[in-house]
């Protein structure tokens, strides 16, 4: 894993590489199809998230439109239960 991270320019999530319970190292990275292919050819197990774009679109649809807080005239409500 160290070697991959050193030689490949991978955009990692902030959590970095982590070891699975089985002892393997894995990392979530954001990279080009070419890089993924190269890693596969080198014998590394690569799982490609085929539905990433769909999910990204779904998330974009969950972003607020306009300004729900009306430039500060309406305040947000916290999610905590007031008890």
């Amino acid at each position: 894993m160290r070697e991959i991270l050193r030689t490949e320019e991978l955009d990692l999530n902030c959590g970095g590489a982590r070891q699975t319970p089985a002892g393997e190292w894995e990392v979530e990275a954001f990279t080009s199809p070419e890089t993924a292919q190269r890693l596969q050819k080198a014998g590394h197990r690569v799982e490609i998230d085929e539905k990433f774009e769909d999910r990204a679109a779904a998330r974009r649809s969950e972003v607020g439109r306009g300004d729900r807080f009306q430039k500060g005239r309406t305040r947000p409500r916290g999610l905590g239960k007031k008890e």
């Binding site: 959590g15 970095g16 890089t35 607020g64 300004d67 807080f69 009306q70 999610l79 008890e83």
Partner: protein, 973 residues
């Protein structure tokens, strides 16, 4: 609240600051983003930014990690709402009490910079979801994919990583703006305006001690350092030492980044508090460890924040963390809400632990100590109150004063057990109190002074001004409201007293004889109407020479029942109210109602109750069924008075009514009863009855009631030093007097009594003996009462001794009932105070002896409802119909360790139908008839029909007297 767009993040913060200005301050960051967006933060905290340590929170430094903004806004909104609405906060399985919310808001400042990187966020939310950097095109060379700087690699901490790190370190930073790793460091340290905003917050909030930078993802809580492994052995091996350039960032080698062991311990404790609090929400456990666990970094915000105090002695030490929330950058909103709850709970748990580690957050709650309107000679206590938010021990000491700066008298101190707060395992808001006292001097005096208090642990000092003014002892106007309905002619049940009216005439004078000088007294009688017998007048010194007392005693002696009279208690109460209203010049008003039956005519109590604004006390002679005192109970309870019922009166109840009058007198004049025993004594015997007085007692009455008006008793008091006060000594001692009146004799003394060294605190004795000559004369007077004669011959003359004290120690019990039907629960609630300070925490015991209607007795031990509240309660059932008399007894120690005792009588009652609504005129079927009778009586009396006309009618054959007799007979039906 789905994900916030960049405008909404700023609007949310602006709105919170607008809606909660007392605790939420809007901060406009000095540097607009590269795309000219204005950035805001808020400061949540009640205290000024310079008065409290601060936690800095930053969100969405990396554009794609959207939820950081939502977490920040949520924490701000929740704290504002919960603090302002006095609630706690709940996140799944984790709850924070309101006190904890309050501790955070009042004990800290939270500086919340929700969206560090608005340009990047906007780009991520609208174009490229995985965009990480800001949107600075300066180094892109026109290539869109080369835009931006990683704002978590741009700070001035080992920023020039090729110099500082080992080439083999794999440091997660790039010098290439076009690197697909998206971690370009920028053209210079803090080159980016967004990164500079973080520096500005640290620079301008110099009390920042903690920093949480919210990132995603990985469910980790990372602490210092991020550039290499930690070591605490070699302080010289540190990021600022160029000797180690080129060696950093490699595991297992010689170089380790220095972190003081003490810091590391505290840093980890805080991180664990975050983890534990977060885990309680839904069971997710974040991994705690140094940031280097991920990969070596340079220019990161957390390392920069913690590094500042090593290189700049003027900078505060900031424990800094990177939170990697969740498992993906942009989870579906439903899951993001869960993450928001998780991390919000973690942040609040972190804040509570931070407070525990923090310097003292102490607020002086009493900026000045004011003794307002202290009656002459009366001692009053006031507390200096500090609110302490800390887990550490805190000891408040008076280091100077309290000293008088102008005016007469002096300020004192009282032992204050809670001025020293012990260390606490968990954070709570605690109050420390130092008690000051002042004794009233002379009416109109104003006394001022000051006291200096120091917190021993921090050396912090407060100079607190004190002021006081003295007033005359308050006076009360009391109207006795006496029943003269037909039932007062009924047999009394007491040997030697033919009628109930005789019992009243035996007992009521006690009130007149004992009421203190300068108070007012008036008398109203009632049957189905009310009659003003004596307007309120101010009484003079006790004794036979006071004309007002003499008049009142004469009115009582002449009090005679109307055999045809019904019972309209409302009429009596209304007249008493009107009489009191017409008696200005008294500080308080009260009425004492005596009755022997339930209401049978208007006006009813319920009719006039809304008018009544005086304290109402009531004494009812009879059983619960006879009195049916629902309205009377409601009336007295509503005014702060109370009701006494005698129940069925038997031969042993000679003094019962007198005791009730004495108890009412004590209530009316704010006295307490120290002791209230009764007994019988024969010639040759000596009864020495001990009682305790203490430094809180201002005045004392020793009152002896006897069953005969003959001077049978020899009654003296002994001081704690053994000096004897008899009538002659009392007459010659300033502030002391002795009075003998019908059926009662009493000493009245202001304390200390100027005898010997001054008699006050300690064990006193009332000493009783019997004069044999008068004893025999009394026996001789009982020829017509053989049973009573035998009783006196066998057991002696009966007496009742009461010791009343005007005192700083007050026992104020009340009896409440769940119902007035059999099966009700009766609860005794007693409040015990010394100078207004609760007497609790094991300093006193309170019990209540009571009797059931079947004659069996019971005992309740009252327990303190909360530690140091001075409020004691206990309950019992009332399954039997009838009266339940209670005698509440308190024993304990004063603040200075002297013994005290207090007693108080209460009665409860239940009867079948007790919960029925009390009668009013509106539902009285006789009301119309009664009004008709009044009209007829009015028309037929001498003011309408003149004697001349009546004579002519007589001559014409109309006998008006016979007509009047018919109408009277009809009206009585």
């Amino acid at each position: 609240m789905p994900y916030l767009n960049v405008d909404e993040v700023e609007s949310a913060l602006i709105a919170l600051a607008g809606d909660f200005p007392a605790i939420c301050e809007l901060i406009v960051l000095p540097n607009p983003s590269v795309e000219e967006r204005t950035c805001h933060a808020v400061r949540i905290g009640k205290a000024a930014s310079t008065d409290r340590d601060a936690v800095l929170l930053t969100g969405a430094v990396h554009a794609r990690e959207w939820g950081g903004c939502e977490i920040c806004v949520n924490v701000a909104a929740d704290l504002c709402e919960a603090y302002t609405n006095s609630t706690g906060l709940g996140y799944g399985g984790k709850s924070f009490t309101h006190d904890e919310v309050k501790a955070i808001v009042e004990g800290l400042n939270l500086i919340i910079f929700a969206d560090v990187n608005p340009d990047g966020r906007h780009f991520s939310q609208t174009s490229e979801a995985l965009w990480r950097r800001n949107r600075n095109p300066a180094d892109s060379g026109g290539n869109a994919s080369c835009i931006g700087v990683d704002l978590n690699r741009n700070q001035d901490f080992l920023w020039d990583f090729p110099v500082h790190f080992d080439p083999a370190s794999d440091v997660n930073t790039s010098t290439d703006p076009c690197s697909p790793t998206q971690n370009y460091r920028g053209s210079a340290a803090t080159s980016e305006p967004e990164a500079a905003n973080i520096v500005w917050l640290l620079d301008n909030h110099s009390r920042t001690r903690w920093y949480l930078d919210l990132h995603s993802s990985g469910e980790t809580m990372l602490h210092s350092w991020g550039n290499d492994e930690n070591q605490s052995a070699d302080a010289s091996m540190n990021f600022a030492n160029p000797a180690f350039d080129g060696q950093r960032g490699v595991s297992g080698d010689v170089y380790g980044e220095f972190i003081p062991a003490g810091d590391l311990t505290e840093i980890v404790e805080l991180a664990n508090a975050f983890r534990d609090s977060l885990q309680a929400v839904r069971g997710i456990s974040y991994t705690v460890g140094p940031a280097y666990l991920l990969y070596p970094t340079s220019g990161a915000n957390d390392d920069y924040a913690y590094s500042r105090h090593f290189t700049d002695a003027l900078s505060n030490k900031v424990y800094a963390y990177t939170v990697e929330w969740g498992t993906e950058f942009q989870p579906p909103w439903a899951e993001m809400e869960n993450v928001v709850a998780d991390v919000s709970a973690g942040i609040l748990g972190f804040c509570l632990e931070a407070l525990c580690q923090s310097a003292f957050s102490v607020d002086l709650q009493t900026l000045s100590v004011n003794f307002n309107d202290v009656p002459e000679a009366e001692t009053t206590a006031r507390a200096i109150v500090f609110s302490v938010i800390s887990c550490q021990a805190a000891t408040f000491q008076i280091v100077s004063g309290p000293a008088v700066t102008s005016g007469p008298g002096s300020f004192g101190t009282l032992p204050s057990p809670n001025a020293a707060l012990p260390a606490a395992a968990a954070l709570t808001i605690r109050e420390a109190r130092l008690w000051l006292s002042f004794t009233g001097t002379n009416d109109g005096d104003i006394t001022e002074g000051e006291v200096t208090v120091r917190l021993a642990e921090s050396g912090q000092e407060w100079v607190i001004p004190i002021s006081s003014n003295t007033i005359n002892r308050p006076t009360v106007a009391a109207v006795m409201v006496l029943d003269q309905s037909g039932s007062m002619t009924f047999a009394s049940g007491l040997p030697g007293f033919a009628t109930r009216n005789d019992v009243l005439k035996f007992a009521a004078p006690v009130f007149v004889n004992l009421i203190q000088e300068d108070n007012g007294i008036g008398i109203v009688a009632f049957d189905h109407d009310a009659f003003d017998r004596m307007a309120v007048q101010t009484v003079g010194p006790p004794g036979p020479f006071d004309p007002v007392r003499a008049t009142a005693l004469g009115v009582i002696a002449a009090h005679a029942p109307n055999p045809a009279g019904n019972t309209a208690i409302g009429d009596g109460v209304e007249n008493a109210h009107n009489m009191l209203t017409a008696a200005p010049g008294f500080d308080f008003h009260a009425m004492v109602v005596f009755t022997d039956g339930h209401e049978t005519a208007s006006k009813y109590i319920a009719d006039v109750a809304p008018l009544i604004n005086e304290r109402v006390f009531a004494i009812a002679l009879g059983t619960a069924d006879q009195i049916q005192p629902a309205a009377l109970t409601a009336l007295t309870n509503g005014t702060g008075g109370y009701l006494y019922l005698t129940g069925a009166v038997g031969p042993d109840d000679l003094f019962l009514l007198s005791k009730y009058y004495l108890q009412v007198l004590a209530g009316v004049t704010n006295q307490d009863i120290v002791l209230d025993p009764q007994g019988a004594i024969k010639p040759g015997q000596k009864h020495r009855i001990a009682f305790d007085l203490n430094e809180a007692d201002i005045g004392v009455d020793g009152i002896l009631l006897g069953e005969t008006n003959l001077p049978v008793f020899r009654f003296v008091l002994e001081t704690p030093a053994g000096d004897v006060i008899d009538p002659a000594v009392a007459a010659g001692t300033p502030g002391a007097s002795y009075t003998a009146a019908q059926g009662v004799s009493f000493y009245r003394m202001t304390l200390p009594v100027p005898i010997g060294a001054g008699a006050r605190a300690g064990k006193w004795h009332a000493v009783l003996t019997v004069d044999e000559v008068y004893y025999k004369r009394y026996l001789a007077s009982l020829d017509n009462y053989p049973d009573l004669y035998q009783k006196v011959k066998a057991h002696g003359v009966r007496y009742s001794l009461s010791i009343h004290s005007y005192s700083g120690i007050r026992l104020q019990p009340r009896l409440t009932q769940t119902s007035q039907e059999p099966g009700a629960t009766l609860t005794v609630r007693a409040v015990l105070t010394e100078y207004g300070i609760p007497i609790g925490g094991g300093r006193a015991t309170v019990r209540a002896e009571f009797e059931r209607p079947d004659g069996t007795s019971g005992l309740l031990w009252l327990t303190e409802t909360e530690p140091d509240s001075g409020i004691y309660t206990a309950s019992t059932g009332a399954p039997l119909s009838g009266v339940y008399p209670f005698r509440v007894l308190a024993n304990g120690k004063t603040l200075r360790g002297r013994n005290f005792s207090r007693e108080h009588l209460l009665t409860g009652a239940v009867w079948k139908g007790g919960d029925n609504p009390p009668p009013t005129s509106q539902d009285d079927p006789n009301e119309e008839k009664e009004r008709c009778c009044r009209l007829l009586n009015c028309l037929l009396n001498g003011s309408v029909i003149r004697p001349e006309f009546e004579k002519r009618l007589q001559e014409l054959g109309l006998d008006l007297n016979a007509l009047r007799a018919c109408i009277r007979a009809w009206c009585r039906e």
